[in-house]
Amino acid sequence: MASVQKSADPGATDADGERRRAIGLLAKATRAELQSAFDALDDKPDAQPVRGPETGLVMVRGRIGGGGAPFNLGEATVSRASIRLGDGTVGHGQTLGTDGAKARLAAIFDALFQQPTSKAAVERLLAAIAARVAGEDAAKARQTAATRVDFFTMVRGED
């Protein structure tokens, strides 16, 4: 049987799960989404760079036969950044591609997500990203569904 990939690491707390969801959605955001959400913030956070932004590679792995032993498929470009807010909260951002500015914005929102005062604003951004992605996926799924083959059997009248 194919081994099922765990969607969350064992031992992860609820807070970890929330943050994991937030970071994953921020990675799927467009730079424009993050930039306009940043521009809309009343108090612009003072984000000091801890690391990056920098662009590098992640070796993407697959599994033999789909669910067997892992193998290295090929690399993908990844950009990442870590920032620290004035109160010491550290945020991490990482996203496929070479857009370091987007990774930095994602890191800022990851930090803001951890702060009770700004969490609600980040949740609104996350909801907007999730809705856009879900809308695009649903549209694609409906387009794909229109190409589904409906088989029918001809009555051949052999009796």
């Binding site: 590679l57 992640v58 070796m59 033999i64 032993a69 290295n72 870590s82 496929l96 694609k140 190409t147």
Partner: protein, 369 residues
């Protein structure tokens, strides 16, 4: 005595300037944009990503433009670029069963869960040139239909339920996936390394080898259990956080090839499998890869190694088109001294041959007298 010869700097600089001119072509035409290449020559972009072994559509499109559409040159440029970047880590294995599906067809089951989803395919087109594309005609929006929401089950899991097909492919416990970008090739190699090499192998080379197996050079009587194309999440463990996060999604093509049976005293007869996994939408490559993966498992199944597609060292050593083009194309670089040496050698051999010939005719003449 060795005499170094220098020269050509001005010629090279001027040649590259000429190349830039020819690449741009007629200035009266608008320059082609990277976003246009990504959007409208997407399968060329996918091929460059797959064979450069670097997933980045914008960079692959840039490479195609820089290479004037020469695919192997573009692959070379992108492969070279990846060596300039640091490696952040290894992703968790992508989960193709959780793929956001754009296409899925099976040649083995007509009515399978999720159905036959044709997606954006060239199949069933008539391969007639379409003059409407000469102009920028309006294109109809795709039709939509309510998605059934049915899980698009993997065909290998359906067969596995009956126990009629071998497992996905395990390696011994504790086996660390090999990485051909870090270790030199050594033969024989484990299947994980072979798959990495095949995933970035030249599409044409793998296609020809896959075809050769169909024509009888290591026949396996294959069926396409399934081809699926879509997006999967790439997840990376974050050591700072202690959990894994998604970096976003990439598009991949997966082929499950089902081949003829094997059994032994210990295992009952069952179908065997070949596997193909490729960046982007690249069905031909994924299918060819799965045929070659299966052929290369000959020794594992106790099959006689009689055909090129079964010869691991031959296949893997020659599948990389960057290596291949480097070694073939280096032949046009100056070999003046090498050639002078060979010229001197062949002149001496010719002289000796003619002297010997002259000597033997003298012998014949003497014998006749």
């Amino acid at each position: 005595m060795y005499v170094a010869v220098k020269g050509g700097e001005a010629a090279i600089a001027n040649a590259h300037r000429l190349l830039a001119d020819r690449r741009r072509g007629d200035r009266a035409l608008p320059a082609i944009g990277i976003d246009q290449i990504v959007a409208q020559l997407g399968l060329a972009v996918d091929r460059v990503m797959a064979e450069a072994s670097l997933y980045d559509r914008a960079l692959a499109a840039l490479a195609i433009r820089q290479a004037r559409g020469d695919m192997i040159e573009a692959i070379f440029i992108l492969r070279a670029y990846r060596t300039t970047l640091p490696r952040f880590g290894y992703s968790k294995p992508v989960d193709t069963s959780a793929m956001v599906i754009e296409r899925r067809v099976s040649a083995t089951y007509k009515d399978l869960p999720g159905g036959q989803l044709l997606g954006p395919t060239f199949d069933y087109t008539h391969r007639l040139l379409d003059p409407s594309l000469l102009a920028d005609a309006d294109i109809d929006a795709p039709l939509e239909r309510e998605d059934s929401g049915e899980p698009v089950m993997r065909v290998s899991d359906i067969l596995a339920g009956e126990g009629l097909v071998e497992d996905d492919g395990s390696l011994p416990d504790g086996h660390v996936p090999g990485d051909i970008t870090r270790e030199p090739l050594e033969f024989p190699m484990a299947r994980d390394l072979r798959l990495q090499a095949l995933a970035r192998g030249d599409e044409g080379f793998l296609l020809a080898l896959g075809y050769s197996t169909q024509r009888g050079y290591a026949r396996t009587h294959p069926f396409v259990g399934e081809v699926r194309i879509g997006e999967v999440e790439v997840e990376l463990d974050m050591t700072e956080l202690g959990f894994s996060v998604s970096l976003g999604r990439i598009q991949i093509t997966e082929c499950q090839m089902i081949a003829q049976f094997k059994g032994s005293a210990k295992t009952p007869p069952q179908f065997t499998r070949g596997y193909g996994l490729v960046f982007g939408q690249s069905e031909r490559k994924a299918m060819a890869m799965s045929l070659v993966d299966r052929a290369l498992r000959a020794e594992e199944f106790g099959e006689d190694v009689v055909a090129p597609a079964q010869d691991e060292e031959f296949v893997i050593s020659h599948s990389d088109n960057v290596q291949a083009t480097g070694f073939v194309e280096h032949l046009k670089l100056p070999h003046y001294v090498d050639f002078q040496a060979e010229l001197a050698l062949v002149r001496r051999m010719r002289r000796e041959y003619e002297e010997k010939l002259a000597g033997s005719t003298d012998d014949i003449a003497e014998a006749a007298e």
